[in-house]
């Protein structure tokens, strides 16, 4: 399983990386904004993508549209502080397979990835 981590916070990117070490996952790249993420998706075609929404330049929802156009089979998990239900529903409608609200701890990530990798139906944590 090849993973791309997209978040404008380097601390958050490293939290995700650290807490997924026990999974059979190869991290193929990290991106700090939507433009960088789209380039990496085009070049690497990752199986799984964690995607923040509030980022400089292209935000996560616009980025999700482009990812789905390039690589519709990608399993995208939104990880965001925007905790209103409407944002979650919009992301799922655009093709995200999972949605996780920050603050995110190790247990949250593990539960969400267990579900994401075992199921194809969209979920909101």
């Amino acid at each position: 399983m090849r993973l791309l981590i997209v978040d404008d916070s380097s601390i958050m990117r490293r939290i995700i990386e650290k807490n997924l070490k026990d999974y059979d996952i190869e991290i193929i790249g990290m991106a700090a904004d939507g433009d960088e993420a789209v380039k990496l998706v085009k070049g690497e075609m990752p199986d799984v993508i964690t995607l923040d929404i509030t980022m400089p330049g292209m935000d996560g929802l616009a980025c999700l549209d482009q990812i789905m156009a390039i690589h519709p089979a990608a399993k995208v998990m939104i990880i965001t502080a925007l905790s209103d239900k409407l944002t979650g529903l919009r992301a799922l409608d655009k093709g995200a397979r999972g949605f996780l609200y920050k603050p995110v701890n190790a247990k949250d990530l593990a539960n969400a990835f267990d579900r994401l990798l075992k199921r194809n139906k969209p979920t909101i944590e």
Binding site: D8, S9, S10, I11, M12, R14, I15, K18, T54, M55, P56, T80, A81, L82, S83, D84, L86, T87, Y101, K102, P103, N105
Partner: protein, 155 residues
């Protein structure tokens, strides 16, 4: 600006709950809150490092969280195990806390409470201008023996 007690309580409670949830969920150490109050815009409360979020949509203003380096160092140590984080890590941590605390109040205020990406800075930038038409709420907190301020400015 005049603010009713009900509005003051409602606004403070939203952010208090968000801050409490952040620290409890990620560190299992509760934050202690001192009595919130209203403040004039002159002489902002800033500690060493600050993450500030702009608010737009149906409310306009800002939220920032400001604390000393040691609080961010402790959080980074807990989160990723780094003992000596870089200056960029400290600023990043300041921005991420502010982002999460502000973003989480959308659970109550909805998607029209729009937040910006964090503006992060050390000390008191010369060019930082706070609008004079906002009500400024100050929530002093203490987490793990570190003092911090959550400051909310809303029109």
């Amino acid at each position: 600006m005049k603010t009713s007690k009900a509005e003051f309580d409602a606004t403070c409670n939203l952010f208090i709950n968000s801050v409490n949830n952040y620290f409890r969920h990620l560190t299992e150490i509760d934050s202690e809150l001192n009595v919130p109050y209203l403040k004039e815009s002159e002489g902002l409360l800033l500690k060493d490092y600050t993450g500030m979020i702009g608010i737009s949509g149906n409310r306009k203003g800002f939220v920032y969280i400001s604390s000393n380096r040691e609080m961010y160092e402790d959080l980074i140590k807990i989160f990723i195990g780094i003992d000596e984080p870089s200056e960029e890590d400290i600023l990043d941590m300041a921005g991420e806390i502010s982002n999460v605390v502000a973003g989480n109040v959308r659970a109550n205020l909805g998607a029209n409470f729009m937040i910006s990406v964090p503006l992060v800075f050390k000390g008191m930038p010369d060019q930082l201008k706070i609008p004079d038409d906002v009500t400024i709420y100050v929530i002093p907190i203490n987490w793990n023996n570190h003092e911090a301020f959550v400051v909310i400015g809303l029109q």
